[in-house]
Symmetry: C2
Subunit: 476 residues, 2 copies
């Protein structure tokens, strides 16, 4: 059978955009077929848009040729959001990295979607301004991707998630038209389409410009760590700090398995008895920070093995390198991992921890746990061998146990990574059929051709119509 | 013509709910035909629901009889949201005022929609918890109404608006089915229907239970005021305080006209030269509050006529009574007023103030201005005589000037009061036709019968089909 694309169907797209903006070689297609999960897809082409007009051209071409569009930032997502499981065209915004404006008077900025989060943070710091959202991947992830996934990060306990900093979005819809939502004010008006676009995971359109709210940069930041014998004691200490009325910017929980992996990875050692580590950061006005630090130290010292304050920025960087080494180091422990992202109400962390121990025991699987304890958001990593069918099956069952435990405590199956294709088939555990149906209808209103990221968020129903469609590779 | 309701069509509704839950007398219908605006409508009946089942029964009855439902809390709204301009049934939740739970461990609460905001704040304070949203009407407004309008209030600069405290909503949809959205966690998952319901102004369904996030109660609160000769200087002082990196909980701006009206109303006097008053509140840990207070005092004293700190709670109450007297006292200055609720980006307040002076001069209208300066949210009150057609026309033109000025500065026509029927016909100034159309399609998805609050938010297009329909009375 001669498929239609054998007649060089990409020709009009390449002609419009120019050859250097359209990738079609096998190596490039493979590279843009994956993200930070183990899902993969086979796109027909990758468009590297450099302007809103380029995005429009790609969307027009896709719509006219009944191809899907998978929007992509840095491809660092953890739920498969930017994996082109429907084939079609990957529309990367990585080259759209202009910071159009930073206004210190109104404390706002306008950026293109491909601006890297860390780069943006550095730029606004020059104006003594602060953009708090900091997903662990912030050194590579983009603002557009962060908004699409409503990324969280380490500082959410004090500063909230990405949505709290988005004022408005310019996007290209499925007709190729440029639309704007939101305003540059700190209060948003009804009806608020902006909130629909935030966290839409590339299913509603492609962002071309984003207006962000900034805040004053904190005067001082201090970092401290505490090691505990037991998980429960560490988790209780977090509750105690919150109950003192203190608001650290960071309160991270790291279990022994994660700590061991990360410490080995970067070549440091820690006291043998340590069962869990807390990483806490306090920022704000200088005097307040010192006062808060002393209160936290006093509270932690009651039950901790060791409490230590990072004395200088070098110490601080070392601790953060340890924290950031967790995810990559866990990958080395097994050939397969399921990375979960559950969140439970604050105060239910100790209960969740007990559930996780029970699940590990019952299913006989290795589970590593770390995450944003202040938010009740835990990354639960289930390790298995991809070469062992039994382990694959068991890991899958354990993952479902974890979802169910989180939901039974009033939590969610996805705190900050999004649904994508990784959690699509578990969404029914959390949302009623009616709610899922409703969200799907809204998607269909905004994207009637189902052009954008088909197969994401919503439980699969039938396959994508395009002949370039490929089945997804499960992450198991 | 004999309309169908002459055959006692309400009989089935009264039979299901009982006579004491259905009001049909002319006095009651008139009472529930209005809110805090000058709009009014003529409902066929008022249902005072006492349970989720009562809400379901009213919705089923309305749907089967092709009547509209206008959901209502306390009727204290300022955009006509609870005015039954489509006739039909007013569905009041004022009797559903049970606080179902307050959990100090997870810092969450579950309430029925009719709980009065102040009452809820007092109740959670018993657990040393804090629910920050405080619209000026908080002594009578309800949580359900606050969520439906995404109410703001005085403390938004530090604490944000109602949406920042809503974790989940139980609501009854147009089929009479009970649905739940959201979770009891601090991070929300995609797809997030909760954010659609918040600020939906009664157009998507009727809330039956609301889950709220609470925070630790501040240890100490201090209140201070400053009087300035000129508006610009007062507004610049606000910018200066923000630029110091300080975050007062309250930063209110009150112009001379508003101050005069309120002071006369409660019988206090103020220095003759005062052109503008700032009301500032700082809360938090005791030492931090004192430190912040001193910094603010020092900054204000540079340019203010007088700076005074409220010494005790009696002093504080007196200042707050003055602030709360503004809206009712302005009503007495003229027979008609247009109450606007624009918001501009922080840092653009001084510019907006100049625009307002120019509009007042150009149109020859009296304008009073007060509001939440920290948020850039100003209540602009245009005064006129309802007996003078020329003044009515001029006031309307001035209102449009104000909307356009706010939008030209990157602001919004509604900061916290909602669109309702008051700003429905100005929405196109702010949102593209496509965006409005999209929001309307979403409304139709969720409420295909257009049962809920027809004629609100969306620019009017054709009249409501029910035979009980009445035209709206404009607020001019």
């Amino acid at each position: 059978m001669t498929a239609w694309w054998h007649k060089d169907p990409l020709h009009p797209l390449i002609k419009t955009l120019g050859k250097d903006k359209v990738f079609t070689t096998a190596e490039n297609l493979a590279l843009y077929g994956i993200d930070a999960t183990t899902f993969s897809g086979d796109p027909l082409a990758v468009v590297l848009a450099e302007s809103t007009e380029d995005i429009q051209a790609a969307i027009d071409f896709a719509r006219e040729n009944e191809l899907s569009i998978t929007p992509r930032g840095a491809g660092s997502g953890l739920s498969g959001g930017s994996v082109p499981i429907s084939g079609g065209i990957v529309l990367s915004c990585e080259r759209m990295k202009i910071i159009e404006s930073v206004d210190s008077k109104t404390k706002t900025a306008i950026v293109q979607p491909g601006v890297v989060t860390e780069k943006f943070q550095r730029e606004v710091a020059r104006y003594k301004l602060f953009y708090p959202p900091d997903p662990s991947s912030y050194k590579i992830s983009t603002i557009g991707g962060n908004v699409a996934e409503n990324a969280g990060g380490l500082r959410c306990f004090k500063y909230g998630v990405t949505s709290h900093y988005v004022l408005g979005i310019e996007y290209v819809n499925s007709e190729g038209e440029v639309e704007q939502t939101g305003i540059l004010s700190s209060k948003l008006s009804n009806p608020d389409i902006t909130s629909l676009l935030i966290g839409s995971e590339g299913t509603l359109g492609v962002f071309s410009r984003i207006a962000l709210r900034l805040i004053q940069i904190p005067e001082k930041t201090v970092t401290l760590t505490a090691l505990f014998l037991k998980s429960e004691v560490g988790l209780e200490s977090i509750d105690e700090i919150i109950n003192l009325g203190l608001t650290p910017s960071v309160m991270e929980y790291i279990d022994r398995k994660s700590l061991t992996a990360a410490a080995n990875h970067i070549g440091v050692s820690f006291p043998d008895q340590a069962g869990v580590m807390l990483l806490i950061e306090v920022d704000g006005k200088k005097d307040e920070v010192i006062d808060t630090l002393h209160q936290i130290e006093a509270k932690l010292k009651k039950n901790a093995l060791v409490v230590e304050v990072a004395e200088d920025s070098e110490d601080r960087d070392r601790l953060w390198n340890l924290r950031r080494a967790i995810s990559p180091s866990l990958v080395r422990l097994a050939t397969g991992k399921i990375q979960e992202d559950i969140a439970v109400p604050r105060g239910k962390l100790a209960e969740m921890s007990v559930h996780l121990s029970e699940i590990s025991l019952k299913r006989g699987v290795e589970i590593a746990v770390y995450g944003h304890a202040g938010d009740g958001n835990l990354h639960v990593v289930i390790l298995y061998s991809v070469y062992n069918q039994g382990e694959i099956k068991t890991a899958k069952l354990a993952a479902q146990d974890v979802y169910e435990a989180a939901i039974s405590l009033g939590g969610t199956i996805t705190g900050e990574h999004g649904v994508g294709c990784a959690k699509r088939d578990y969404l029914h555990l959390q949302l009623s059929d009616l709610n899922i149906q409703l969200a799907y209808q809204i998607k269909k209103n905004i994207d009637p051709h189902e052009l954008f990221n088909p197969g994401k968020i919503f439980p699969s129903k039938g396959s994508w119509k395009s002949s370039s469609s490929h089945t997804s590779h499960s992450n198991l």
